[in-house]
């Protein structure tokens, strides 16, 4: 148990020996432990130390320990002095200190030799950004093309579809999303009924709350809120999963076995989401209407029965079908963007994170844009 000095005691003593320096004419006296842990306070002062013109000697005889960081500071100081045409030398260094000084002198960078990554100028940056974005779009188009082609081929030979994976994905993306989708749709129904109800009551048209909640939920809000939740929940998971597989070369491994990543990783997810999202929208419809009903009864004294009767009169089946009809389109957007971004991951963990962010932003953006386009088309068609 007792070899030399007990290291604990040695460590305690170390902390006490602060590195200090003192100028004595042309001699700079250094003492204490010039090691990286202790240097923080001394380094700045040492850097500011002005040396007199002419030869200068660094006396290291008081230095108890010197590591490469400490040696580098001394070397730097000497280098700066020599640059002014004056001499700088070391005396009194222990053999260890002399060796480490020699080591840093021999291997350290000269002035201005530190290699920093080349910065990009403003115009270069704009150019790179633009071409990067353009590349991204063309790549995405190519991906959509390939996806369509492979999907059609699979549809002709459905036995080749990996149904087992489809079912796993269905459970993940659909079943496990039920609680959050249901809760948010319910709350949305409550909010709409509350906000609209106050207004309707003033005009004595409380019963029209069913029109308001029914139309807005079924036609617009339920599909939209569901798509946004699924984009954040499932789209990001697709990117992260495929992206990580890309980093660990699992995607390449699939490729070498003659299995295209699209067939194995993308298609099952796409199919699963196309099935799951409309079902989630139906659930969101139910929960949203229920939320509206609860709020109507509490605030407007519209009973469940009268709400339902009015709902059936006021809302055409088309509104319900339009809402559900949008869901598969949203599903295609989310699954294809999620998988595309996953496959675009290159090399590093950082890339996975960046692509996941991009995926969620793009999914939600595209879902809202497409929803707006649907609105225009339906209003032109007069549905």
């Amino acid at each position: 148990m007792h070899d030399v000095a007990t290291p604990a005691a040695e460590h305690g003593a170390e902390a006490a020996r602060q590195p200090v320096f003192e100028r004595n004419g042309a001699t700079i006296l250094l003492s204490g432990d010039w090691i990286v842990d202790n240097l923080s306070a001394t380094a700045a002062a040492f850097r500011r130390l002005r040396l007199q013109a002419g030869p200068v000697v660094f006396d290291l005889s008081g230095v108890t320990r010197l590591d490469s960081a400490g040696a580098w500071l001394v070397h730097r100081k000497m280098r700066a002095h020599r640059k002014n045409g004056a001499e700088a030398s070391v005396q009194g260094a222990s053999p260890d200190a002399a060796a480490i000084l020699q080591l840093v002198e021999g291997n350290g960078p000269g002035p201005g030799e530190v290699v920093l990554p080349p910065g990009t100028g403003l115009f270069e940056g704009i150019g790179r950004q633009s071409f990067g974005a353009l590349d991204n779009y063309t790549d995405f188009l190519a991906f959509i093309g390939r996806l369509t082609f492979i999907s059609l081929r699979i549809l002709l030979t459905p036995m080749r579809m990996r149904w087992r994976i489809v079912i796993d994905e269905l459970v993940q993306a659909g079943f496990y999303a039920l609680p959050i989708v249901g809760l948010l749709a319910f709350l949305l129904g409550v909010v709409i009924a509350y906000q609209g109800g106050i207004l309707l009551r003033q005009y004595g048209g409380s019963i029209f709350i069913a029109d308001l909640v029914g139309l807005s939920m079924l036609r617009e809000l339920a599909p939209l809120i569901t798509a946004i939740i699924v984009a954040g929940r499932t789209g990001s998971a697709y990117t992260a999963q495929i992206g990580t597989m890309k980093v660990t070369e699992e995607v390449d491994a699939l490729r070498t076995m003659g299995i295209t990543p699209v067939e194995m990783l993308v298609l099952p997810k796409l199919f699963a989401l196309v099935i799951a999202l409309p079902l989630l929208v139906v659930f969101a419809d139910i929960m949203g209407l229920f939320g509206g009903m609860v709020m109507s009864r509490a605030l407007l004294e519209v009973s469940f029965t009268s709400f339902t009767e009015r709902l059936l009169q006021a809302i055409a089946i088309e509104s319900y079908m339009i809402g559900i009809g949008k869901a598969p389109v949203f599903a295609i957007i989310i699954a294809s963007v999620g998988c595309f971004q996953g496959l675009k991951v290159t090399g590093s963990a950082e890339s996975v994170g960046r692509r996941t962010t991009v995926c969620v932003v793009q999914c939600i953006f595209l879902v809202i844009v497409v929803d707006a386009i649907f609105s225009i088309i339906f209003s032109r068609l007069g549905i």
């Binding site: 923080s40 260890d96 080591l103 291997n107 530190v114």
Partner: protein, 262 residues
């Protein structure tokens, strides 16, 4: 045994279990200052786990580990922090931070733990890069642009950034071509000599065992099968030790080493 060697790691009665699997069943290991200790053993013999336990990443199920005389197995995470700074670790796959350039990776511990000026830190990082045997221009690259060998060298440079007293290397030569592996062996010897480092490495590589290790600990069957210098182990009568070092690979490496060394 040399008298008066300072023991900087003292592990006693280490027992490690993962569920029903017993990885270590009462292992005692010492690391002496200034030596290169190699931990060897078959796959799954708990080499890396033992290393992770000494560097305080994973507590053993039972047993006591002292690092620099401090009982780390009984200390809180917070109390371990000053000790961690005196230890450098090179992970098997480098574990470089992928969002930083090579220079930033090496300078990271300095930036976190000292108030040195940014340009001084960059210069010291560049110095460590050169010490690790890399070309200066590698500094500006991202980790994803490096080959496996370069990545290990950058990881090594980062491990010695704070001038630790002891470094741990997890499979330093695995996945490297013979030339790079030889160069890495030379680097380990050079760092030991120049910086006075104590080095603990986990390895499979017979050539590097003969070339760089002062002492070898052979793990197997959840205990230590043998320890000593390579010559001692080679001469051992123990069947398990012979199985490990007496195979074709072991003999080949020993032969090369004998030819060059004697």
């Amino acid at each position: 045994m040399v008298v008066g060697r300072e023991t900087i790691v003292r592990a006693r009665g280490i027992v490690t279990r993962f569920g029903d699997t017993t990885v270590h069943d009462g292992i005692d290991v010492d690391v002496y200052r200034g030596e290169v200790l190699a931990i060897v053993g078959g796959s799954g013999s708990g080499k890396s786990t033992l290393m992770r336990e000494i560097v305080m990443l994973h507590p053993p199920t039972e047993g006591r580990i002292e690092v620099f005389g401090e009982p780390v197995t009984e200390m809180s995470e917070f109390d371990c922090l000053p000790l961690r700074r005196r230890i450098g670790v090179m992970f098997q796959y480098g574990a470089l931070f992928s969002s930083m350039t090579v220079l930033e990776n090496i300078g990271f511990p300095l930036r976190e733990h000292t108030d040195l000026d940014s340009d001084v830190i960059d210069e010291i990082a560049q110095l460590k890069l050169v010490l690790a045997g890399l070309e200066p221009k590698v500094a500006a690259r991202m980790p994803s642009e490096l080959s496996g060998g370069m990545r290990k060298r950058v990881a090594m440079a980062r491990a010695i950034a704070l001038d630790p007293e002891m470094i741990f290397l997890d499979e330093p030569s695995s996945g490297l071509d013979p030339v790079s592996a030889d160069a890495l062996d030379s680097l380990i010897l050079k760092l030991k000599e120049l910086l006075g480092l104590t080095i603990v490495m986990v390895t499979h590589d017979m050539d590097s065992l003969w070339r760089v290790s002062d002492r070898v600990v052979l793990l197997g069957d959840a205990r230590i099968l043998g320890q000593g210098s390579m010559q001692d182990l080679k001469a051992s009568d123990d069947a398990a030790v012979q199985r490990f070092f007496g195979g074709q690979r072991g003999r080949g490496a020993a032969h090369d080493s004998d030819g060059g060394g004697r």
